[in-house]
């Protein structure tokens, strides 16, 4: 059982470059999320999707975009990376639709922007 798969696991990127972090789930969950984790700040929501075809902004959406063309995939794109986007990024999913179920997380993508 794969659950949530994120790629790449780690990446070093020059400032100004475009980067897409991939996320795929095989649980047929409705809702998907992107968080960034920074020391002392915990987890902050970047973007989310309650169901395929819809997306919403989280707490820190600036500089990021997402798409949800189908149920399984939820890529996160940095159009022009900046050093402040150096972080560990986690994709997550849940059954959604107002369910009280828990989130399932991927293993993270560590991004360094130089």
């Amino acid at each position: 059982i794969a659950g949530i798969t994120q790629a790449p696991t780690s990446q070093i990127l020059a400032a100004g470059r475009r980067m897409t972090l991939r996320c795929t789930q095989d649980m047929r969950h409705n809702a998907m999320y992107w968080y960034r984790q920074d020391l002392g700040l915990g987890l902050r929501l970047i973007h989310y999707s309650n169901t395929a075809g819809t997306t919403g902004k989280g707490e820190v959406p600036d500089g990021y975009s997402v798409s949800r063309a189908n149920t399984d995939d939820f890529p996160l794109t940095l159009a022009s990376a900046v050093p402040s986007q150096t972080s560990v990024y986690f994709c997550a999913s849940s059954r959604g639709q107002g369910n009280t179920g828990e989130l399932f997380f991927g293993e993270g993508s560590r991004l360094t922007v130089l």
Binding site: I4, N30, A31, Y33, Y35, G40, L41, G42, L43, L45, Y48, N50, G56, G58, F90, A92, S94, G96, Q97, G98, N99, T100, E102, L103, F104, F105, G106, E107, G108
Partner: protein, 114 residues
């Protein structure tokens, strides 16, 4: 505003002793509360949740949490700590304005010493 507070950045405890990791919350309406654990270089894993019913909730790895409505708290506890419990612990509350979203605390690092 809805929020979660984890007042301790780090908790140190000797192996075999009881442990408590504190969490307080602020939410509109009924609270749906969660605890997650993160081991080094891994994604978050669900530990337990409170939705309704008994104020003492039991979860994975021998952990439990006590919901206290009057103190708006949801402290994580374990009667006897193990070295392997050393990890980062996050408290979260469901966003009642968008019930597919969770609001996370900043995390508490638990260090269990042999």
């Amino acid at each position: 505003a809805q929020s979660v507070a984890q007042p301790e950045d780090q908790v140190n405890v000797a192996e075999g002793n009881p442990l408590t990791v504190k969490c307080t919350y602020s939410v509109s309406g009924n609270p749906y509360l969660f605890w997650y654990v993160q081991y080094p270089n891994r994604g978050l894993q669900f530990l337990l949740k409170y939705i309704t019913g008994d104020n003492l909730v039991k979860g994975s790895y021998g952990f439990e949490a006590e919901f206290n409505k009057s103190q708006t708290s949801f402290h994580l506890k374990k009667p006897s700590a193990l070295v392997s419990d050393s990890a980062l612990y996050f408290c979260a509350v469901r966003d009642n304005y968008n019930t597919d979203k969770l609001i996370f605390g900043t995390g508490t690092r638990l260090q269990v010493f042999p």
